[in-house]
């Protein structure tokens, strides 16, 4: 694990500039939706736009106070993505295709909640190394979160997947979204303390060095529980996400390519097994390979959604039909799973590639925070969290564009859905914290790093002596 050095410069002014540009993009999207709809510019343009602007400026001020040296582009990128998503959801609402045509005000409410919670995370944690103390608490929390929807009366199945928890009449929540954060914390904490044991102890068979089972035990338990629960809950997207997170974190911690090889083999094996035995996986893969077959198109849960999305994107072409001018509402779930298809229709290939670029920048800044971080836990956590965002984008955008089978994962920051917004904003808050700690001047953090350098390795040694 290497380190890169940067001069400690607070770059909040740059952030403010980019943030204003990002807000201009969001307001521009809202404005276009407004003038192209039948009702003309509505009240929502003012209220929702102002709400987003005020919240993100408050966030910026909070960063000036508590995370002065944080990465300057993470917040603007996130606000731009969130704003474009809001405008698109508002646009689908205006088409009044579904009974529930007030998604955008719920989404803006969730955006507010998510940003406030992200600010609270920034204020409460300050130093990400605190999270290391909660390694096993995070494991327990992940298991509880993943099991919550299985509790009768609390969990409700929606679209065949039992991943929702309903509280009261209107508030439903997907606890699995938060589990990806707690799992990343657990993997980072566990691997940063036991990295060398996993690397050095154990038998060597040919070119492969196998770790001892008891060193890997908690990892295997965490992985089996998450995959097992997800297979039972029939949520394919999340199980790919957790599996990918597991593989990447263990690869980054050990730098052994053999883990990737083993992981790929397991993925192929699991995929073939699921295709042969599980009905919903078979349908997904058929809908992907033979999307244009009429039988599959008209079948229940067939390829209609993907094909309509492809037609929409084809209609948009390079430049798109213009926000508010296309007909993206023809695609089922146009405001959540298929929001990229809706955007592809209205802002075209050029617009969607800008959005993909924004995601790419976000992920690369997360990786940059990991490179700059001075402790192994921070490196692993930042890698894991930014990889989750990247993998989510790949799985859902790849699914919508028929590169891989479509699975239901939320497009980060864009898709309608409160739990996904909340967890992704918390991820952003954690990445900002890690980058702040990575970039702030050494002098200020000397005591903190010195404490970590001496305290962390001492623990295993004491254990060893206690045994003797």
């Amino acid at each position: 694990m290497s380190e890169l050095e940067t001069a400690p410069v607070s770059r909040r002014n740059m952030e403010l500039l980019l943030l204003l540009l990002a807000l201009a993009v969001s307001m521009g999207a809202y404005y276009l939706v407004g003038i192209n709809s039948d009702q003309g510019l509505s009240q929502e343009f003012i209220t929702q736009g102002l709400f987003l602007a005020v919240l993100s400026l408050v966030f910026h001020v909070i960063l000036r106070i508590w995370a002065k040296y944080a990465d300057p582009v993470i917040l603007p990128v996130t606000v731009a993505l969130n704003g474009i998503g809001l405008a698109m959801i508002h646009r689908i609402d205006l088409a009044k295709i579904s009974r529930d045509s007030d998604q955008s005000s719920r989404q803006i409410l969730w955006t507010g909640v998510a940003m406030v919670i992200a600010m609270v995370v920034l204020w409460a944690i300050r130093d990400h190394r605190i999270l290391r103390r909660f390694t096993y608490t995070a494991l327990a929390a992940s298991i509880v979160l993943l099991l919550l929807p299985m509790i009768p009366g609390l969990g409700v199945p929606i679209n065949g997947a039992r991943i929702w928890v309903r509280i009261g009449d209107s508030l439903s929540f997907q606890p699995g979204e938060l589990a990806k954060i707690t799992l990343a914390i657990f993997f980072a904490g566990y691997l940063s303390s036991n990295r060398e044991l996993i690397l050095l102890a154990g038998k060597r068979i040919g070119p492969l060095q196998l770790p001892r089972l008891r060193d890997l035990g908690p990892m295997v338990v965490a992985w089996l529980v998450s995959i097992g629960v997800l297979v039972i809950q029939r949520d394919l997207g999340s199980s790919i996400l957790f599996f990918g997170l597991f593989m990447v974190m263990i690869y980054v911690a050990t730098a052994r390519v053999s883990w990737i090889v083993i992981g790929m083999l397991m993925l192929v094996g699991g995929g073939v097994f699921a295709y042969l035995t599980m009905g919903h996986v078979t349908r997904r893969i058929n809908g992907w390979l033979n999307a244009f077959d009429p039988d599959i198109y008209y079948a229940q849960g067939g390829s209609r959604q993907i094909v309509e999305g492809l037609f929409g994107m084809g209609d948009g072409g390079l430049l798109g039909t213009g926000l508010g001018n296309g007909s993206p509402y023809l695609v089922p779930l146009a405001n959540s799973d298929m929001i990229i298809a809706a955007l592809g229709e209205e802002i075209g290939l050029i617009g969607v590639s800008a959005i993909v670029m924004l995601y790419l920048i976000l992920v690369s800044r997360g990786m940059r925070a990991a490179l700059g971080s001075r402790d192994a836990f921070g490196k692993l956590l930042a890698t894991g969290l930014s990889f989750t965002v990247g993998l989510q984008c790949f799985v859902i955008i790849g699914g919508v564009t028929r590169l891989i089978p479509l699975t239901g994962l939320a497009t980060p920051f864009m898709a309608a859905g409160g739990s996904s917004l909340l967890s992704n904003w918390i991820i952003v808050a954690l990445l900002l914290l890690i980058s702040h700690n990575a970039r702030r001047p050494m002098q200020a953090s000397l005591s903190a790093t010195a404490e970590v350098a001496t305290e962390a390795p001492r623990r295993p040694k004491n254990l060893k002596e206690a045994k003797k």
């Binding site: 290497s2 940067t6 770059r11 980019l18 993009v25 521009g28 990128v77 800008a354 350098a453």
Partner: protein
Amino acid sequence: MNDLVFTVLRLGFLILLWLLVLSIVGALRRDLAIGKKARTGAPTAREIRKNPDLSPPPEAPAKQQASMLVILEGPLAGLQHELTASPILLGRAQEATIVLEDDYASGRHARLFPQGTRWFIEDLGSTNGTFLGENQLTRAQPVELGQKIRIGKTVMELRP
């Protein structure tokens, strides 16, 4: 409003979106330039004229790289360990790369690891400490050729 205005606004939005992306990339480029270590390739003549600090440093005498860890004193005196790219764990524990049979060494005493062209030594929280030259280590420090590393009664040095 007529179609022309719509078209202009539509294209204007796309331009604004890409303006955001490009200004972020521009900001990132500056970020990379701040850490001069992250620079790749030699600076151009024009960059040097603008900023004299960038001119390539006078050729340093070619440094010899360490390829051998030699134990000079202590129970293992005379042992030579070939250095590869992987870190070395020093200590009494059986999993250590060099198992020190030294009563004053801890199980996992210190770690010697390469970074770039240099080797660093880091104390792993040992009871009796690790000394580089005269000084006890408090953090990871680079080890020069011929500099004495002392752990308990064992003294070792790096040789080319």
